[in-house]
Amino acid sequence: MIGNRRTKRLKTAGVYLGLIAFSAVLLFPFLWMISTSLKPDHEVFTQVPRWIPQEPTLDNYRNLLTRTSYPTYFRNSILVSVITTLAAVVIASFAGYSLSRFRFRGRRGVGILILVVQMFPAVLLVIPLFTLMQQLGLLNTHLSLIIAYGTFALPFSTWMLKGYFDTIPTALEESALIDGCTRTQALRQIVLPLAAPGLVTVALFSFVLAWQEYLFALAFTRTEPMRTLTVGLALMQGQHGRISWGEIMAGAFIACIPAVLIFTFLQRYLVQGFTQGAVKG
């Protein structure tokens, strides 16, 4: 019995050791980012770096916000992400509702199409879309990014909202329809309020998608005032002679905050969405 308890304690210790090791490695880059961002230059560029800043300072943040284009990048990212989100939520609501409530020709085909287009290689899309945006005169505008991101967010959002609408009983809308509401009124006034959690999920998903996108932002935006955070940050390294890692890490940390907050809420639904039906059997 005592031996049994000892093996159990040993096992618990092993589990903790494993969990701590994993967490340390997985968190390290993030912690190192924060640590570097709080260091004065002479602590960043030293042969014997310290884990924790000796003289913590916010200079990097101050310089970043006053002497670089970072505030512009940040504003651009917010603008693009917010409009993308609004567009995706509205369009996906109608599409998801249609797939959920109506039985019509081609319904299954649309469902499959929506799953398949998610898997297209981004580099194959970026080439013709670049040409298309050029022809439309949209190159180097935020609108080009909003159109692209809004569309990329649609498949998952539509699929997710369809699933959500499926769980809402039809009785309420039906009685509203009998009372003389139009479909669109019933959708707006009855179904959408009930689907609020689903709408929030889809909104956050679209926001993060736009917030973290890199390839299209790199291809479509060509000038400093148009750049979004990811590209701006990645290109900051080349700007002045010595790479000011302190400032870059400060920028990286700020860029992480919205994504981390949103994702923490969102991850449960994302896992469900991508693997729906898989866990059942």
């Binding site: 618990t12 589990v15 997985l26 797939l99 194959l124 899309l125 973290q212 990286a252 866990v279």
Partner: protein, 289 residues
């Protein structure tokens, strides 16, 4: 004027219309144009381009950089998927143990997944930096290396350095998906096995693994698709260098188009990617529907 009946018949399509128009214009149309472009000889100088059939694809077969990028992509995808899966499974098993504070760990380990990849790549670039980089400092103080290594600029280390980041990024997703599946295995199965005298290892092989089979399949197909497509990390860390050592099909396509202006050739490489991805997608869609 349409009758009430006709209108209600059209309604499902009207609701779908904006979604379908965007998908057609921004996803389907570019793919078709991309395939068509791959059959022309279009570049910066011949914007019209003559139809050349499959010539670009035949040229690809003799292009050393393409073959290198193809090999790198397969190597990258295989290693990263395997690494993510094995380490993700280990982490899921640890998180499934009934110890105090496991919810804190479950939240903490999500960080690599929730940090935007482009931002994480910049942070890793600083870790890998030849001078003042923390990795060199750690390895030096442990006596593993004598001199600083230029991790991302060195032929032997560049690919492994990028692969390590790729694995790091994907562990949390695999872990939490597998954890959800582990938690849905009925406890009775393990209890019955214990009564029959099965040890931990035997329970793992005969109960845990078979129960994870379905979900593992999906996870592996999905991570294969994502990693095969991966662009941001490689572009930020190495630009495919040094000397194409980390060049992937995605970065190669981008470079062919935006730096070399060989539009048709770039499209041909992307079409090769499309074919591979569509095969994987068919597997995924059939599983999930």
């Amino acid at each position: 004027m349409l009758s009430q009946r006709q209108r209600s018949k059209l309604l499902p399509y009207i609701y779908l219309l904006p979604c379908l128009i965007l998908i057609a214009a921004i996803l389907l149309y570019p793919v078709l144009v991309g395939i068509y472009t791959s059959l022309l000889d279009r570049d910066m100088y011949t914007m019209e381009g003559v139809f050349v059939g499959l010539r670009n694809f035949r040229r690809l077969a003799d292009e050393p950089v393409f073959l290198l990028a193809l090999g790198n992509t397969l190597w990258w995808t295989g290693t990263v998927v395997a690494g993510q899966y094995v380490l993700g499974l280990m982490l899921a098993l640890l998180l499934n143990e009934d110890v105090r504070g496991r919810f804190v760990f479950r939240a903490l380990i999500l960080v690599p997944w929730v940090v935007p990849l482009a931002v994480a790549a910049v942070a890793w670039k600083w870790i890998y930096a030849e001078y003042y980089g923390i990795l060199n400092h750690i390895l030096r103080s442990l006596g593993i290396i004598r001199h600083n290594v230029a991790w991302l600029a060195n032929h032997e280390t560049a690919m492994w350095s990028v692969i390590a980041v790729g694995i790091w990024k994907g562990i949390p997703f695999v872990a939490i998906v597998l954890l959800a599946a582990l938690q849905s295995i009925p406890r009775e199965e393990y209890e019955a096995a214990m009564i029959d005298g099965a040890g931990n290892l035997q329970s793992f092989i005969h109960i845990t693994l078979p129960n994870l089979r379905g979900i593992s399949f999906i996870v592996i197909v999905l991570t294969t698709i994502w990693n095969f497509n991966q662009f941001d990390l490689t572009h930020i860390l190495t630009r495919g260098g040094p000397g194409n050592a980390t060049q992937l099909l995605s970065t190669y396509t981008y470079q062919l188009f935006f730096s070399a202006f060989q539009f048709s050739f770039a499209a041909a490489v992307a079409v090769v990617m499309l074919v591979v991805l569509m095969c994987l997608t068919v597997i995924y869609v059939r599983r999930i529907i």
